[in-house]
Subunit: 413 residues, 2 copies
Amino acid sequence: MVKLKGFQKLTLTDEALEKWLSELQIRKPQAVLVSLQDALGRVLAEDLIAQEALPRFDKSAMDGYALKSADTFGASQSKPVTFQLTENQELAGKQAKQIWTGNPIPKGADAVVMLENTKRQYEKLEVWSQLPLNANISKMGEDIKKSDLVAKASIRLTPYQIGLAAALGYCQLKVSAKPKIGILATGNELAEVGTELSGNLIYDSNKIMISAVCRELGAETTDFGIAKDNIDEIVTKIKKILETQDAVITIGGTSVGGLDLVPDAVNKIGKPGVIVHGIALRPAMPTAVAVLSGKPVLILSGNPVAAIIGFEVFGRTMVSRLLGMTKTEPRPMLKTVLARRVAGVLGRKTYVRVRVALKDGEFIAEPVSAKGSGSISTMTQSNGFMIIPENREGVTEGETVIVHMFSSLEVDV
Amino acid sequence: MVKLKGFQKLTLTDEALEKWLSELQIRKPQAVLVSLQDALGRVLAEDLIAQEALPRFDKSAMDGYALKSADTFGASQSKPVTFQLTENQELAGKQAKQIWTGNPIPKGADAVVMLENTKRQYEKLEVWSQLPLNANISKMGEDIKKSDLVAKASIRLTPYQIGLAAALGYCQLKVSAKPKIGILATGNELAEVGTELSGNLIYDSNKIMISAVCRELGAETTDFGIAKDNIDEIVTKIKKILETQDAVITIGGTSVGGLDLVPDAVNKIGKPGVIVHGIALRPAMPTAVAVLSGKPVLILSGNPVAAIIGFEVFGRTMVSRLLGMTKTEPRPMLKTVLARRVAGVLGRKTYVRVRVALKDGEFIAEPVSAKGSGSISTMTQSNGFMIIPENREGVTEGETVIVHMFSSLEVDV
């Protein structure tokens, strides 16, 4: 008799993740040198250290006149001090030189008086205020000192870090090489997108979707096609992926016709094989995590939403580690008010798809009803996940919940 | 006497944006056909209509047995109804066929009984429950009907929309062509990144940073180099950009040495030229917005943070429109508690850089103190903006504020 659907024992999500990570031997990713342009969105592979100071020299923080602060002693609107204007590179006593924001401070000057506190008449300048040393000067290194740590390894580079690196004279940055992930779909019912459908076949949409999620995180994916529901074919294809890729993701075949085709194939290939199969995670219960040749093998359900949630939990963590991050990169989060009650199941973690909108200054999360968890359209109608933890039977209407956003907020203007 | 820093009149941010948009003649962007792989993150150019139904056929929502619901009339655990198992494509009366989740419903069947409610003995099946019509069947078109609108034009494509398009049999999608943006820096003090610095030059980090922000939004940028602080050179270079690009961004020269070099150059080129110069926006007051040949010209300050905020307000809107969006694409937002008081200025909109962290379940926004608004490091130390509106003198400690996130949340685990 075939093994029926349903697992003897479900492993808690965090426990499964921990077991998997401890069996994995993910090495520090290779570092590659890329131009600043190409560094956008990549993960920094080593600490970025300031190779010079910022500002590079003492500069004016205002439009005004550079002068010696001591020369302004006692100056006020009723008792101005008069300076001689000069164009020289170096100032002598009681000389002033016009200066604009960002200009270097000329030699002999140690303060800048704002335009508003002066009156110019031909080559004379009346100064109406007494200035302390370094007034209106941005000192060299005030922003960043030479050898300062300006960005930590393993952060994802934003345009602003790239701008800062440019200001510091970098024109290339060392980033983590893109992890190579091979993706295999399994299932007799699947046909490749772009082919003609016949009979009761359906398009394999999961592979292209999971590939996109991987690429969004900065991985490089290779499509290893579709395997039939046949252990030997699955074994051969997974072995092939392991030859060249850093990680394997399979989709489908976790409980086909009551058989665990892919987990069985993985266990046939080598040790330690499947670490956990059957997770207390809704709707991704049939997910399995495995290790072959020290590399992560993520076995996702063929149900599209289960595949998405299985990836969200295990795949995001895997890609983050392959990129050299010590933590799983979080999605943008949002505190919202739940629009109506959602049921969970005690002892299982539940991912609920919600649509968050900003209404009258309040973020409201509307659960997207899931008639059939297999339908991707519930994902395209939502923009975030709410997570019901294992110790809750559900979340009530009006409760404040954190939503993990995967798509743009709906803004009511 | 040169015109001094400070504008006769500052225009309110929203008013400036409105004036600019009403003068612009942004056409619907060209649509380009790309593969599903390449569609990730692009903006959909036309409504996506389901070319078939999902599911494509009636399928089982459970592992179990397909049968005719009427044959289960009166069945219960104490009074089971016995069926004959078959492997045929079509069922006769009182026949049942084993079926797995996702399998098509065989002819003659109109319900699926779950494994748990049956007992199999050789070729006989005892059914313990009475089933209504369509029990445990996902009906054809239940998820999506043929001709349904599945994604609206102008949305940014996520992996899930790509998955849905694949399931519907699409292998290409029409997306908006990438807007072409030419970027010019101006300033005698600037040197290109990658060159040797001499004297009091500084690296032009703004151009590469603003280019990255544009590319992050899906634009294609071209670097038009650095112009000296010379009106004729600036005129020539902006004209050159207009020949091939959809939009112009200049950085610097908005109030150099008291002169409005770039705004003056733009006005020399043609009508309407500068629409607004001087915005009640901190720290991006010297920003100007202009229109030449119907195309947007965004004139940013040379101060890095002012350039960033000027782009954030005007540039994001510009790129969103060029991509065919009717609204400015929002950043991920977050309701946070402000860690300490921040001052604003009545009558001006103020962008405050904050660092948001999740601490004990609470999102706390810590203002990043800005010693010198010119320092990009305040951007790399923060992960979001808080906006103080024109009618507020400041925001108090402990107040709830919305933060617009531009970088990963700091999660305290």
